[in-house]
C-alpha cells in the first residue's frame, strides 16, 4: 500500500487508517494530536476572547455553518458564514453577552478523526454551561474539515449542529436583553 492509498471513506471513526511505514504512522499520530489541540484552542480562544488567536486557526476562505437541532433559533445566528473575518465577527456577536473574566464555558470532547487524500475530517461533541444558573445551555456536534498548511493544520470548514436545553432559554435571553439595554443606554463602545 502506497502512502497515497489511505482510506477516504466518509464512515467516520469506523477504523483507523493503516499507514505502512513507521514514519507515516508517526506523522499521522502527530497530525491527530495537532488537530485535537487546534479544536481545543478554538474554544480556549473563544473563552478568553482572543480573537486574533481564534482567526489564526482558520484558513482565510474558511466556511462556518450553524444549524439548530430543535426549533429554538439562536438570536439569528443560524446560517452559513464565509471567510475568516466574517466567521470571527459572527462568533464575537454570539459571545458578546457572556463576560466571565476568562472562566471557560465551552467543553469539547469525544473527538474522532478520519484522514483522506485532501486532509482530515473531525467530529466532536460539545456542551456549554450557563454560569449564572449552573445549567447546561446546550450540546452540539462539531464537524470540521482540516487541511495541512505548512507545518500546521487549519480549519477550512466548520459545522455546528446544536440543541439548546429547554430550561435555560430564559436565562440566556435575559443576558442578551441586558446587553441590548446597555447598548441602548450607550454603555458599550
Amino acid at each position: 500500500m502506497a502512502s497515497g492509498s489511505r482510506s477516504s471513506s466518509n464512515d467516520l471513526g469506523t477504523k483507523v487508517p493503516e499507514p505502512v511505514t513507521d514514519d507515516e504512522r508517526v506523522r499521522e499520530l502527530f497530525d491527530r494530536m495537532r488537530i485535537v489541540e487546534n479544536l481545543a484552542r478554538y474554544h480556549h480562544s473563544i473563552d478568553a476572547k482572543e480573537w486574533e488567536q481564534l482567526a489564526s486557526l482558520f484558513t482565510e476562505d474558511a466556511t462556518a455553518e450553524y444549524r439548530s437541532l430543535n426549533d429554538i433559533s439562536l438570536f439569528g445566528l443560524e446560517g452559513t458564514y464565509t471567510g475568516r473575518d466574517t466567521i470571527i465577527d459572527w462568533i464575537r456577536t454570539g459571545q458578546e453577552p457572556f463576560q466571565f473574566n476568562g472562566a471557560p464555558t465551552h467543553f469539547m470532547t469525544n473527538h474522532v478523526i478520519e484522514f483522506s487524500e485532501d486532509g482530515a475530517t473531525s467530529k466532536s461533541s460539545f456542551n456549554d454551561v450557563d454560569l449564572p444558573t449552573g445549567l447546561t445551555i446546550g450540546t452540539g456536534i462539531y464537524t470540521c474539515t482540516h487541511i495541512r498548511v505548512a507545518d500546521d493544520w487549519k480549519i477550512e470548514s466548520m459545522r455546528l449542529e446544536q440543541r439548546l436545553c429547554d430550561s435555560v432559554i430564559s436565562s440566556i435571553v435575559a443576558q442578551r436583553a441586558a446587553l441590548d439595554q446597555k447598548s441602548t443606554e450607550g454603555g458599550t463602545g
Binding site: 477504523k15 499520530l29 461533541s125 456536534i141 436545553c165 430550561s167
Partner: protein, 165 residues
C-alpha cells in the same frame, strides 16, 4: 530499562487509537449509528452496569453478554430520548494500562439532560481492549453511574419507570 523511542511512539499511538475507540462508543450512541456501535465490540464482548448510589434507572443494571445483547441494552436505554443527533454523553480523563495486544482504560463521563439542563450523572467507565487486525476493540465494558438527585424529577417526566422492578 528506558523504553526505546519507537516503543514510546507505539504506546502513544495505542493511547490515541484507544481514546478514539472510546469516543466512538458515545459518538455512535448519540448519533444512533448502531452499525458503527457494533464494530466497536468483539462478538463475545460483555457489558456491566452498576448504580453507584442505589438509584435504579430504566432497569439498566446488570451484565449483558454478546454484541447483540449489548446493542439491545443500549437501544433500550436511549429509547425514551430523541435529541435529533445532539450529544448528551461527554467523556474525559482517559487513562490507560497497555499490555501488548491488550489494554485497560478508565474514563470519566458526565451526561446532560437536554430538557432541564441538569447533569444526569457522573459515570466511571472501566474497559478492557484487545488489538485485532482491524484495530482496537472492546471486550469488556463496565459502567458505574451516580444519578444526581436534581435530575430525577425531569427524568421521571420523560420516562416513568418502576424502581422496584
Amino acid at each position: 530499562v528506558e523504553p526505546t523511542t519507537l516503543a514510546r511512539l507505539e504506546a502513544a499511538a495505542d493511547r490515541i487509537e484507544l481514546t478514539e475507540l472510546l469516543h466512538s462508543f458515545h459518538q455512535a450512541v448519540d448519533s444512533r449509528d448502531w452499525q458503527w456501535f457494533e464494530r466497536i465490540f468483539l462478538p463475545d464482548a460483555a457489558i456491566e452496569f452498576v448504580s453507584l448510589n442505589d438509584y435504579r434507572i430504566f432497569g439498566m443494571e446488570g451484565r449483558h453478554e454478546g454484541r447483540q445483547a449489548i446493542i439491545d441494552w443500549v437501544k433500550t436505554g436511549v429509547a425514551p430520548f430523541d435529541w435529533n443527533g445532539a450529544p448528551v454523553h461527554f467523556m474525559a480523563n482517559h487513562v490507560f494500562e497497555l499490555d501488548g495486544d491488550t489494554a485497560r482504560s478508565t474514563t470519566n463521563l458526565h451526561e446532560v439532560d437536554l430538557v432541564s439542563g441538569i447533569v444526569i450523572c457522573s459515570g466511571l467507565y472501566k474497559a478492557e481492549h484487545v488489538r485485532t487486525p482491524e484495530g482496537w476493540r472492546i471486550r469488556f465494558f463496565h459502567l458505574g453511574m451516580w444519578i444526581t438527585d436534581g435530575v430525577r424529577q425531569s427524568l421521571e417526566q420523560q420516562r416513568p419507570w418502576d424502581e422496584s422492578a
